[in-house]
C-alpha cells in the first residue's frame, strides 16, 4: 500500500525530509560541475602545455567575466515575466542542468597539440559557456529556498542540508578524482579529466532532475534573483564601507581565506606531485583535513553564545597562524613522516578555518548593524555588495597571482608532474607561506580591525533597541545564512 502523502492547509505536500534531501541534491549537482574547477590550472598548464603566465592572464580575464556574468544572468532571469508550468526558477535550473551535461567538459578538451591561438579561444569559450550554464542553474537555486517554505525552522533545515549536499559534492570528487586523473608518475591524464567531467556532468544532471521533480513550491512570490543596485554614489559608498571597521575587518579576513586557500590549491597539487610524489593520496589528505570543520560546526552556536563571534573567530585565526608557522618551520621532508607532519598542520589549520567559517557571514550581519549604529542608516545592499565584490576579487585574483609566483619560483608546465626537486621544495614553502598569509590576514582583520567584541556588540544592540542576542536582527542573519551555505567551503561561488 503506497504511503499517503501528508498535505498542509494549502494542499501542498507537508514539509519534510524529502524537501531537505531534494534541496541538498541541488547543491550536490552544482558541485558536480564546480569540483573540477580546481583542476583547471594543472590541466591547462601541465597537460595542454599553455604558458603559465599566459594562463594567469586568461584566468583574470575570465574571472572578470565571471563578475559580469552573475548579475547579467540574474537580471535576465528577473526580466523574464513569462509564466512557467513548473516554476520559473525550476525551469531555469532544468535548462542550466542540460547545458552542464557537457559544459563542464568543454573546459577540459584534451587537445594539447592544438595551436596556441586555438587553445586561448577554446579556454575562454569553454569557460564562458560553462560559467553561463552554471549561473543559470546556481543563481535561481539559491533563491529557491525562499519559495520552498516561509517557516524559519524549515529554511534553517534547508540551509543545513544544502551544506550537506555541498560537503558531499565536494568530498566525493576531492577523494576520487586524484586517483583517476593522475597516472602512476603523478602526471595529469588529460583524457581522464575530460571523461571525468562528462561523467560528473551526468551525475549533476541526475541530481538536478531529482531536485526539480521533488521540489514543492509552497510560497508564491515574484522573487528577484539579482540584487537591485541601489542608486548610490559608488565613491561615497566605498568611503562609507572603508569607514565601517567591522565590515573592513570581516572582508579582509574573507579575502585572506580565498587568496590563501584558493591560491594555494595549485601549489598544493604540485607539492603532492613533485615533492611527496604521490598526488593520488592528495584527495584523501584534503578530506582528512576537513574533519575538524565537521566536528566543530555543531558546537558553533553554543560557543558563539558563550564567547562571542569576534573572540571565537580570533581564536580560530590564531589557530591557523600557529598551523601556518608550524608548516613553515617543521621538517616536512618528502618522506612518510614529512607527510604526516603536513597532515597534522592541515588539521590544526582546518580547525581554525572551521571556527572562523561558521561565523563569517554573521560577522557581516553585525557590521551592517554597526553602520546603522554609527550613522543612523542601514546600507545593507551596498555593504553586502562590496563585501561580495572583494571576496570575488580575492577568489579570482588569488589563483592567478599565485601561478605567477609559482612560475617565478621555477614551476615549468613542461615538466608536468615531475618538477625538479628544488622547484618542488619551493612549492613546499610557498604552500606554507600562502596558508600563513591567509591566516595572518584573517587575524589582522578579525583581531585588530573588527571591533565588535562581545561587550561592544551588547552595547550596540542595546542602543539599537535589540536584546542582547540582537533579536531584531535575527531575521536578517537567517536570510544571510540562507543566501550562502552555513559551511564555508573553498568552492563557494559568492
Amino acid at each position: 500500500m503506497a504511503k499517503e502523502i501528508q498535505l498542509d492547509e494549502n494542499g501542498k505536500r507537508k514539509f519534510g525530509i524529502l524537501d531537505s534531501i531534494s534541496y541538498a541534491a541541488g547543491d550536490f549537482g552544482c558541485n558536480m560541475s564546480f569540483a573540477l574547477k580546481s583542476t583547471l590550472i594543472i590541466f591547462w598548464t601541465q597537460f595542454m602545455k599553455m604558458d603559465s603566465i599566459l594562463y594567469a592572464l586568461l584566468l583574470i580575464i575570465v574571472q572578470v567575466w565571471d563578475a559580469i556574468n552573475d548579475p547579467l544572468i540574474g537580471s535576465i532571469i528577473d526580466a523574464d515575466k513569462r509564466k512557467y508550468k513548473r516554476n520559473k526558477f525550476l525551469t531555469y535550473i532544468w535548462f542550466g542542468s542540460i547545458g552542464l551535461l557537457v559544459a563542464g567538459a568543454l573546459c577540459f578538451l584534451p587537445i594539447p597539440n592544438a595551436y596556441d591561438w586555438a587553445k586561448i579561444i577554446i579556454f575562454i569559450a569553454g569557460y564562458v559557456v560553462w560559467d553561463a550554464f552554471y549561473t543559470i542553474a546556481n543563481v535561481p537555486y539559491g533563491s529557491l529556498l525562499s519559495l520552498i517554505s516561509n517557516d524559519t525552522a524549515d529554511r534553517a533545515s534547508l540551509s543545513a542540508w544544502r551544506s550537506i549536499g555541498s560537503i558531499l559534492g565536494n568530498m566525493v570528487p576531492m577523494v576520487i578524482l586524484p586517483m583517476i586523473i593522475y597516472d602512476q608518475n603523478n602526471n595529469i591524464v588529460g583524457m581522464n579529466v575530460f571523461l571525468a567531467a562528462l561523467i560528473m556532468g551526468v551525475l549533476g544532471f541526475i541530481s538536478f532532475q531529482f531536485m526539480i521533480r521533488t521540489t514543492e513550491i509552497r510560497v508564491e512570490e515574484d522573487l528577484k534573483v539579482s540584487e537591485e543596485a541601489p542608486k548610490v554614489n559608488i565613491l561615497v559608498a566605498f568611503k562609507n564601507f572603508m569607514l565601517n571597521r567591522p565590515a573592513v575587518g570581516a572582508t579582509l579576513a574573507a579575502m585572506g581565506m580565498f587568496i590563501g586557500m584558493q591560491g594555494a590549491a595549485t601549489a598544493v597539487t604540485v607539492l603532492f606531485q613533485s615533492y611527496f610524489k604521490n598526488v593520488q593520496v592528495s584527495g584523501i589528505i584534503q578530506l582528512f583535513s576537513m574533519i575538524p570543520i565537521v566536528i566543530f560546526t555543531p558546537l558553533a552556536r553554543k560557543m558563539v553564545t558563550k564567547y562571542g563571534k569576534k573572540e571565537l573567530s580570533t581564536v580560530g585565526a590564531i589557530c591557523s597562524v600557529v598551523a601556518g608557522v608550524l608548516m613553515l618551520i617543521l621538517p616536512i621532508t618528502p618522506t612518510v613522516l614529512g607527510m604526516v607532519l603536513y597532515v597534522v598542520c592541515q588539521l590544526i589549520y582546518s580547525l581554525g578555518l572551521g571556527i572562523y567559517s561558521t561565523v563569517s557571514w554573521a560577522l557581516m550581519g553585525d557590521a551592517i548593524d554597526y553602520n546603522e549604529w554609527k550613522t543612523g542608516t542601514r546600507e545593507e545592499g551596498v555593504v553586502y555588495s562590496l563585501h561580495s565584490f572583494f571576496r570575488k576579487l580575492a577568489q579570482g585574483a588569488g589563483p592567478s597571482i599565485v601561478l605567477v609566483i609559482m612560475a617565478a619560483l621555477g614551476y615549468s608546465e613542461y615538466h608536468g608532474g615531475n618538477q625538479t626537486f628544488l622547484v618542488a621544495l619551493n612549492m613546499r614553502y610557498l604552500v606554507a607561506a600562502l596558508y600563513l598569509l591567509a591566516a595572518v590576514m584573517q587575524f589582522v582583520g578579525l583581531a585588530l580591525i573588527y571591533n565588535l567584541d562581545k561587550k561592544t556588540l551588547a552595547q550596540m544592540n542595546k542602543d539599537l533597541g535589540r536584546d542582547e542576542n540582537g533579536n531584531e536582527a535575527a531575521a536578517e542573519a537567517v536570510e544571510a545564512a540562507e543566501a550562502a551555505p552555513a559551511l564555508e567551503t573553498v568552492s563557494e561561488e559568492a
Binding site: K49, V325, P331, Y414, N418, F421, L422, L425
Partner: protein
Amino acid sequence: MKKILALVLVVALALTAMVSCSINDKEVAVIWAKQTDDFSATMADALDRALYIENIKYKHYDANGDSDAQKKLVDDAIAGGAPALVLNPCNDVVALHALKAAKEANIPLIFMCATGILDTVLNLVQYDKVYSIDVDAASLTQKLGERIAKDLIENANDKDKKNDYDRNGDGKISYAFTDVVSLEAIGNSLLVQAIEKYISESNAAVKPVLEAAIFAPKLTAGENVTSIFEGFTGAEGNDKVATNAELLLSMEDGDIDDILLAMRAYQLNYNKLVTHFIPLYTVGVSANAGSLLAETAKDEEKAAYSVMNTIDSGYVSAAALEDDDAMATAAAVILRNFIKGNEPLKDVVADYVDGKKISVPYTIYG
C-alpha cells in the same frame, strides 16, 4: 592576547632553531664532469632530494667537461673544508687525483656513475673511505629482456596461435635495432639473448619466435628507421624487400625523437586513432631525451621531453631507466653515516652492495 602571541613567537623561534640545523657545518662538494648533460642533470636533481632528506648541506660544482678544471675544483673544495666529496669524474686521471687528495685530507669520497674507475684507481692508491655508486649494467639486458619477452608472450593469441605483434602473419616477430649497425653485433646481442632465454624458460602455450630484420644501416637512428621500413637496394643491384620490422629496439635514448619522427612518416606510433603501433623499447636516463610533441624546438623547454613522457603518451612501449633516486639515496645515506660516525654502509640496501661498489639495478618504466 599579547601573551598568547608572545608564547607562539617564542615557541616558533625555538622550533626554528632546532630544525634548521643540518648535520654538517661545511658543505659537501658535489663535483660534476658536466652537470648540464642529461644524465648529470637528472642525477643532480635526485641528489638534491636525497641530501635534503638526510639534512646534509652541500653544493654542486660543474667542471664543464674540463678535467683540469675538475681537479682544481677538488682541490678548492678540500681546501675550503668540505667534509666529503661526491665526484662524477671526467676521466680516471681526475679520479686518481681526487682519491689521493681525499686520502690526504682523510675525508670520504664517493664516485658517482664512474664505471670501472674504482678498480683502476684502487689498484694504485689504497683508501678505505671511498665508494663507487653506479648502475648495475648487467641488469639492463636482463630486466629489459624480461619485459619485452613478457609483452610478446602476452600478445600471443592462444586460440589461433597468432601474435598481435606479428603483422605479416609469418609466425615470427621480426626485430630491428635502430642503432646497431652490424649483423654480427645483432647476432651477439645480449638483449635478444635475454629475450629468447626468458621466452624459452616460460610456461607460455605459444612462444614467440624472434627473427632479425635485415636493413642497410645509415648514419642516424632516423635514417635507420627509414631503411628498416623502406628496404634498400643491395650492393649488387638486387632489390631487397622492405623488412617490415615488428619490434624496434633502441639502445640510445637520445635517438628517440628522431626515431619517432621517422616512424611518423609511415603512420606509425603517432596518432593512436589512425596509426599503427610498433612496439618500441629503449634505455635511458629518467629525464630529458629530446622533444616529440614540439614540431620545431623553438623553445628549449618544449624540447625537454623525457623518455617517460613518450611512454606516458603511448609512443614508446617501455624503457629501462637508471634508478637515479636509489643511487642518490645510497650516496646520501653513506654520507650521513660518515658524518655521524656510523658504519658507512648502514641502511644501504644490502642487495646493491658488493664491497666498495654499490650497483643499483635498472628499473623498467612503462
